[in-house]
């Protein structure tokens, strides 16, 4: 098993909210996301069939709102990564799909020291 290592990603001002840096770690890479000022990292490998997950769009998801017109409420904006192949919805902060928490991909530690973003992966 490869050893986890804390590695520099970029300066924090180069990863503003709503953006992602794909870090070439291991075979598939890891995506480091800034979600509203909070940093998260997720494997670039879909649990379903191995798609490059971080090529997917980031948005929110719908939850059931019985009293709302259309019965839908848009939630978790900026946290949901949709796999580009089959549209599975991954919560970047947990690695789990919205449909089934048992379907998940690995997430990693991110920290900021002296204005520098570090990924441990």
């Amino acid at each position: 098993m490869p050893v986890m290592r804390r590695r520099p990603v970029c300066a924090v001002e180069d990863l503003p909210p709503g953006t992602m840096k794909l870090v070439p770690v291991g075979k598939y890479g890891v995506g480091v996301y800034n979600i509203g000022g909070s940093l998260h990292a997720i494997a670039n490998y879909c649990a379903h069939e191995g798609a490059p997950l971080c090529a997917g769009f980031v948005g929110g998801t719908n939850e059931f709102a019985p009293d709302a017109p259309g019965h839908l409420r848009y939630v978790r904006e900026g946290r949901i990564l949709r796999c580009p192949w089959h549209q599975w919805e991954f919560d970047i902060t947990t690695g789990q799909t919205v449909a089934d928490a048992a379907k998940r991909v690995r997430i990693y530690q991110v920290d900021v020291t002296d204005g520098q973003v570090y990924l441990t992966a």
Partner: protein, 355 residues
């Protein structure tokens, strides 16, 4: 035939003695209206829709004592759920609701109240194209102690998950009555019998018509009907369960990808089956090689979902032995007895008579 448990026959269709007999049970305002005969005009089985030995002066399955002799004394069943046909989805939905009421009054008078064996149970036939009338009919008859389910046609111009039907399902669930979906008689204002249009001859019709049940089932799940009505159960009485597994796999797969469009579906679609769905056995379902039957029935929990239904007096009438060929003893007990006893609460009253 000796089984250590009561065999429940969950799919039996009694008939009027002759088509016009229904008029005795219609109110005067509707008594002289044009009403289709009970036979479908197209796609009749070669040789007749019903078991050839049952044709006589009157329709097959129109004499109570003969039916009881065939099913109970000779067939080995302990109890039968009667689900009579009506006369198609008639454009005048108010007339159709009166036809349903006439069938129900006849069922109560000639079959349920007249039966001294205690082994017959009935179905409240309703017309889904008249939701208010259907709810009223359920309310009228739900208290009858021998009425154990609500009956509707498989033929429909909208899938049963649509909101227009929901008050009917709510009424059935409130009375703890399962809703049985069965290919109806008569000639209605219907869609073609297959997804792709009209079948050519009877084999095409008979092979594919029951598959329409999956469309009703999928919409009941996806449009949230089962999620909103915890006590609602649907029985698909014409089989179609041998395509249940691949189609549920398909539905589960799409749900993971498209869940955000229907977030009220808060579990895999297949997870609704055990609480909400049953099938009656059918001569046309299952592997052609019995050595595959036991393994095949365990896919998608069908062992828990399937109930024996003879389809008497249909030409394909199936005995308990034939319906469970190749199954394990555990599966056989569930299919012949337990699943229906748990759904309908029947069987206990005849259990003592079996020993």
């Amino acid at each position: 035939m000796s089984n250590p448990y009561p065999v429940i026959d969950a799919n039996v269709s009694p008939h009027f003695r002759y088509n016009a007999e229904i008029r005795r049970y219609l109110p005067p305002s509707y008594r002289l209206r044009a009403i289709p005969d009970v036979e479908q005009q197209w796609y009749q089985a070669p040789g007749g829709d019903y078991r050839q030995d049952l044709y006589g002066e009157h329709y097959p399955a129109s004499d109570r004592e003969t039916l009881c002799r065939h099913l109970f004394d000779e067939g080995g069943a302990a109890c039968a759920i009667l689900n009579p046909l009506t006369r198609g989805n008639i454009a005048d939905y108010l007339l159709n609701s009166r036809i349903c009421a006439a069938v129900n009054d006849w069922l109560v008078e000639r079959w349920l109240d007249a039966d001294a064996t205690g082994r017959l149970r009935g179905t409240i036939r309703v017309n889904p194209e008249d939701p208010r009338g259907a709810v009223a009919e359920i309310e009228r008859l739900a208290a009858h102690p021998k009425m154990v389910q609500v009956g509707i046609p498989l033929q429909s111009r909208e899938p049963y998950g649509k909101p227009v039907f929901e008050p009917i399902w709510a009424a059935a669930a409130a009375h703890n009555l399962p809703v049985a979906v069965h290919i109806n008689g008569g000639n209605g204002v219907d869609h073609p019998p297959t997804f792709a249009g009209h079948a050519h001859t009877y084999p095409g019709y008979a092979a594919f018509m029951p598959l329409n049940s999956f469309v009703h089932l999928a919409t009941l799940i996806i449009e949230g009907v089962f999620g909103r009505h915890a006590d609602l159960r649907f029985v698909f009485a014409d089989g179609g369960y041998d395509i249940l597994t691949p189609l549920m796999w398909r539905l589960d797969t799409f749900w993971v990808s498209m869940r955000d469009q229907t977030p009220w579906v808060d579990r895999y679609p297949s997870e609704y089956l055990r609480d909400h769905v049953r099938f009656c056995s059918s001569a046309f379902d299952g592997p052609t090689d019995d050595t595959h039957a036991a393994r095949w029935l365990d896919f998608t929990d069908k062992t828990e979902l399937l109930m024996y239904g003879s389809a008497y007096p249909h030409w394909s009438t199936t005995s308990p032995t034939a319906a469970t060929a190749g199954l394990s003893d555990v599966q056989r007990e569930k299919v012949l007895s337990r699943n229906a006893r748990e759904l309908y609460g029947v069987g206990a009253e005849v259990e003592g008579s079996l020993s």
